[in-house]
């Protein structure tokens, strides 16, 4: 059964998008990327250190022929900054894909919905394949889709908080209403979070801190690979309904009855 995820005209077999930040070592990162089975990988765009311009970059560690690079606009608090970094990312990665983030709030890293929508409209005009990171706001999600975004990326909880998915009810509505893939991003801590998102009908998840900061990143990456597979298969397999009473899993008739030993 072919069950591809299509974003921006490209097909992906994996529904796990992996971040490359916060690993303790480059080796951890490389092993986690390998173990995760991910086909799309996020990167940030930062100033080169001119006092060490020859330093290795991510480009030296990852075989980019095998992965779709997804440059992000992390660190940008305004529309202008996000546009600039998105355009730089396009040059760095030679890709139109961009994970759009406009985040004014340094403590909880929650996105600015109105600014994200404004930036998304401009980037779509410039031919970008825009994956916008936003609050789990069903109306905003619709507006981003109407603006031509390739996906919507509602948050589960605060970035890197490991709180899991707080927004189940909103996600259900966003998924119900969306014609583009819904990618749940931020807050996922364990594979059951990823599995739950896909069981609800999300098309994919984006994970970074949960894997990068796990005690064993490569093993946690493998765990998430299974979690995503589990959630997608369960979604396709059609889960049972919730009942408010029990239903015996063994027959309730023909139960053998002990007899008193004869007197």
């Amino acid at each position: 059964m072919s069950d591809e995820l299509v974003i921006g005209g490209k097909s992906f077999s994996s529904r796990l998008i992996l971040g490359t930040g916060r690993y303790r070592t480059m080796e951890d990162m490389v092993q986690a990327v390998e173990a995760s089975g991910a086909e799309m990988i996020t990167v940030a765009i930062r100033r080169l250190d001119l006092d060490d311009p020859g330093q290795k970059t991510l480009l030296d560690y990852i075989d980019w022929d095998r992965y779709q690079m997804l440059p992000n606009t992390a660190g940008c608090a305004t529309v202008e900054d996000a546009l600039f970094v998105a355009r730089l990312g396009r040059e760095v990665g030679k890709t139109d894909f961009v994970k759009l983030e406009v985040i004014p709030d340094p403590k909880y890293l929650f996105p600015d919905g109105a600014a994200t929508l404004e930036a998304a409209r401009i980037l779509v005009q410039e031919g970008f394949v825009v994956l916008p990171y936003v609050h789990a706001d069903p109306v905003l999600a619709r507006q981003l889709e109407e603006a031509g975004c390739a996906t919507v990326m509602p948050l589960g909880s605060a970035i890197g908080s490991g709180q899991g998915i707080h927004t189940v009810e909103e996600l259900k509505i966003i998924i119900e209403q969306a014609a583009v893939p819904v990618v749940v991003d931020a807050g996922l801590a364990v594979p059951s979070d990823a599995s739950e998102a896909l069981e609800l009908g999300a098309s994919a998840v984006l994970v970074n801190t949960a894997i990068a900061q796990a005690e064993d990143p490569a093993l946690m990456a493998e765990a998430f690979k299974h979690g995503v597979a589990a959630g997608r298969k369960a979604y396709l397999a059609g889960r049972i309904a919730v009942k408010h009473y029990a239903a015996a899993s063994s027959p309730t008739t023909d139960v053998p009855q002990p007899a008193p030993a004869r007197s």
Binding site: G19, R46, R47, L59, P71, F84, V92
Partner: protein
């Protein structure tokens, strides 16, 4: 004397040069970078054509780990 702002820091050049040569002078690996020139992003193929002028603001960037 040409004064530049490169990645937020003041730098200077004796003689005018083009962006390509300037980057090469740092030993920057072209394949890995992108450049913002006075707020506009310059395509790599155009680096040789960009002549640096006094007051120019450059942002020389590369990819790093991020989520």
């Amino acid at each position: 004397m040409i004064r530049l702002t490169v990645n937020g820091k003041a730098r200077s050049l004796e003689d005018s040069t083009d962006l390509e040569s300037y980057l090469v002078s740092f030993g920057v690996n072209m394949k890995h970078v992108a450049v913002g020139y006075n707020g506009e992003v310059v395509k790599k193929e155009l680096f040789p054509e960009v002549r640096l002028r006094d007051g120019d603001v450059l942002e020389i960037v590369r990819p790093v780990g991020g989520g």
